[in-house]
């Protein structure tokens, strides 16, 4: 199916497994953010070489919403770790709270990786932002905050 034909369908009506990498890339840059999210993640699960540059484009260009950005951050970390860490160092202070939640989850899942000197600025910034949250804060969610601070704050404060 062409992109034009696919634009008639909702996220739950598209069989992403049958689509080419290039078609998925186009969908990931499209206006339907549910479809964009699914297309990006399908590329990532396939380990497509298009996934990391696409995730970078999504993060650095005015496209998508915070949910798509959260997905893109995870994809980039999985497939182009150096670039993801560069992005995290530069953006950790400004990240939307939902994307910050994703960054914290990445740091929890990959704790060993975030022990290095290079990632220290990210750890410090995220701890600081976590400590500014209160009981009314929706994102990062309380469970992630608690786990994160338990794991990181004693070693870095």
């Amino acid at each position: 199916m062409s992109i034009d034909d696919l634009s008639m369908l909702g996220d739950d009506q598209i069989d992403y497994a049958t689509l080419s990498d290039e078609t998925l890339r186009e969908l990931a840059l499209g206006d339907d953010l549910f479809v964009a999210n699914s297309a990006l993640v399908t590329l990532a699960i396939r380990h497509s070489k298009l996934a990391a540059p696409l995730a970078w484009d999504i993060l650095t260009k005015p496209h998508g919403d915070r949910y798509l950005h959260a997905a893109a951050l995870n994809v980039l970390f999985r497939m182009d770790r150096k670039r993801a860490v560069d992005y995290m160092i530069r953006q950790a202070q400004e990240l939307d709270s939902y994307v910050l939640n994703t960054l914290a989850e990445i740091m929890l899942e990959n704790h060993d990786y975030f022990k290095s000197e290079v990632t220290l600025p990210i750890v410090r910034t995220v701890i600081q932002r976590m400590q500014q949250c209160n009981s009314d804060t929706k994102w990062p969610d309380s469970e992630v905050r608690e786990k994160f601070l338990r794991l990181y704050s004693t070693k870095h404060t």
């Binding site: 199916m1 034009d4 034909d5 634009s7 008639m8 369908l9 909702g10 996220d11 739950d12 009506q13 069989d15 499209g30 206006d31 339907d32 953010l33 549910f34 999210n37 699914s38 990006l40 993640v41 990532a44 699960i45 919403d65 949910y67 798509l68 959260a70 997905a71 995870n74 994809v75 999985r78 939902y98 989850e105 929890l108 899942e109 704790h111």
Partner: protein, 194 residues
């Protein structure tokens, strides 16, 4: 658990069949005389229920599911277990590539699409609208009106304002022009007015 919502043309009104553990039909409000419900078939054979007014088509599920917070909840417990497994024993976790694929699918797709749908619904609730047949009809009527103003040469993104009892929302809709000139709603997004 909720699975889908479909539209049933009940003559003077639209009814919505919510498919859950058992099929349940909710009685709807009177529909505009100019509106009708039609089934169209997408190129992949999918039948899409649309509200039709003149040469404008609005796929009903685009309104009744995604912005109404009805994207299914992701399997939160399975996600938690996979994340803990990965943190606890990375070597064992990596032995089955299916673990990572499933983790990525739940965490990066199902969760974000669910949260996006919830946020859209929160925006709709903030203007005093709810997940009712009446309010779905109101939004569809709004979009049909927007579609009437879409010119062939300017198809694409169209901003509009949806009025609710407690306020307004900015709506960004995108439109596709079908070969017969019909305007077809491709996407919608709701944004609070700052």
């Amino acid at each position: 658990m909720f699975k889908s919502v479909t539209v049933v043309d009940a003559g003077e009104r639209w009814d919505y069949a919510y498919v859950a553990s058992e099929e349940d039909r909710k009685e709807g409000e009177g529909k505009s005389d100019a509106m009708e419900t039609v089934d169209i078939t997408a190129p992949n054979g999918t039948v899409i229920v649309c509200a039709k007014q003149g040469n404008v088509l609005v796929p009903v599920n685009r309104v009744a599911i995604y912005p109404m917070g009805k994207v299914p909840m992701y399997p939160k417990e399975e996600l938690r277990q996979l994340q803990e497994f990965k943190q606890r024993d990375r070597k064992a976790f990596d032995q089955d590539p299916g673990n990572e694929a499933r983790l990525v699918d739940i965490r990066d797709r199902l969760k974000h699409n669910y949260e996006r749908s919830q946020e859209m619904f929160a925006s709709i609730k903030s203007i005093g609208m709810a997940d009712t047949v009446e309010d779905v009809n109101t939004i569809i009527s709004h979009l049909l009106s927007v579609g009437e103003g879409v010119a062939v040469e300017s198809a694409g993104r169209h901003p509009s304002t949806l009025e609710g009892p407690l306020g307004s929302l900015r709506v960004h809709s995108t439109w596709k022009i079908l070969p017969d000139g019909t305007r077809y709603l491709a996407t919608i997004n709701f944004m609070p007015i700052q």
